[in-house]
């Protein structure tokens, strides 16, 4: 038996297929979920993929957060369902207040697309156990609204509780406070990050490395061993 991992498609999602492929390559079964459908089809985990859901109208993630599927995702994430938000998915998670802080436009006002070096600060979340703390990885980054902000009290709390999971190395591509690229919730089941692990799972494409694959093998091991 393998794990079933849902991938939500919103209107404007771009990376749902790549995410499904990454899940399949890791050895799990991807399950397509639809934004208008409250039913999560009994999946064991959910990924909110990248893209420009609802055109990023109002604020990135602001409209998706109120979609029918998110009602169930929010409810079950609070009960422990593992959820990963990548890029636009991270924006949806902050808008849904499953993760603290908010995402704003890049400080340089340009779309950015590059191979980005990151440090995995914590390997004790549901989605990072196949990394080691302190490991440096390189995966693609592509966004317009990637600037992570939160008040200094929240930032201090995230640091103190070990909830800054990924930090930009060498270059801060969007003005994110404290070089934060990804964070987790208190329980460690909800993780959001701006760069794209699903685009770095095969040597042939992306960065030419498979630095993103451990996201998907981490969750698979957790679910299968549960």
């Amino acid at each position: 038996m393998t794990a079933r991992i849902g991938v939500v498609t919103f209107p404007g999602s771009l990376d749902d297929r790549d995410t499904q492929r990454a899940i399949r390559l890791a050895g799990a079964e991807p399950v397509a979920l639809w934004h208008k459908d409250k039913d999560l089809k009994q999946v064991d985990a959910v990924v909110l993929p990248g893209g420009f859901s609802y055109g990023d109208y109002l604020r990135a993630g602001a409209i998706s957060r109120f979609s029918p599927v998110m009602e169930t995702v929010i409810e079950q994430a609070k009960a422990g369902l593992p959820v990963l938000g990548i890029c636009n998915g991270f924006q949806v998670l902050t808008e849904a207040h499953l993760l603290p802080g908010a995402m704003l436009g890049n400080n340089h006002l340009h779309f950015i697309c590059r191979d980005q070096k990151l440090r995995v600060e914590h390997a004790d979340t549901a989605w990072t156990s196949d990394y080691t703390a302190g490991q440096e990885i390189r995966i693609p980054l592509k966004n317009m609204d990637g600037r992570y902000v939160a008040d200094s009290y929240t930032l201090d709390q995230l640091e103190a509780e070990g909830r800054v999971v990924f930090r930009y190395l060498d270059f801060n591509p969007n003005g994110s406070l404290r070089d934060i690229a990804g964070i987790t919730n208190e329980a460690g089941n909800v993780v959001g990050l701006m760069p794209h692990p699903e685009h770095a799972v095969e040597p042939l494409i992306g960065t030419g490395r498979t630095d993103g694959l451990p996201f998907f093998t981490s969750i698979l091991k957790k679910l299968v061993n549960a």
Partner: protein, 87 residues
């Protein structure tokens, strides 16, 4: 019909690169003496029925939960007289 206007602004401590870009363009256009620009959003809601306390409370809730993200933004709600409506 009455109009309710919701203005949404980034909180003062949040960096606003768009506002800065606008401000930096001003001297080139011959506008001097403007030391800072911050850019926000304005929503005009055309309300059916009376804008009483209950309606305003609902709009306040709408602004707080949806039109603004109060992690990064502040908002104000005000009722605007629509020209020509009073007869």
């Amino acid at each position: 019909m009455a109009r309710v206007v919701v203005d949404v602004m980034l909180k003062p401590e949040i960096l606003d690169p768009q506002g800065q870009a606008v401000q930096r363009a001003l001297p080139r256009l011959g506008f001097d003496g403007i030391s800072d620009v911050r850019q926000g959003k304005r929503f005009e809601l055309e309300v059916e029925g009376p804008v009483d306390e209950a309606a305003l409370a609902r709009i306040h809730e709408l602004a707080e939960s949806f039109l603004a993200n109060t992690v990064i933004e502040d908002f104000t709600v005000k009722v605007e007289e629509v020209a020509g409506a009073a007869k």
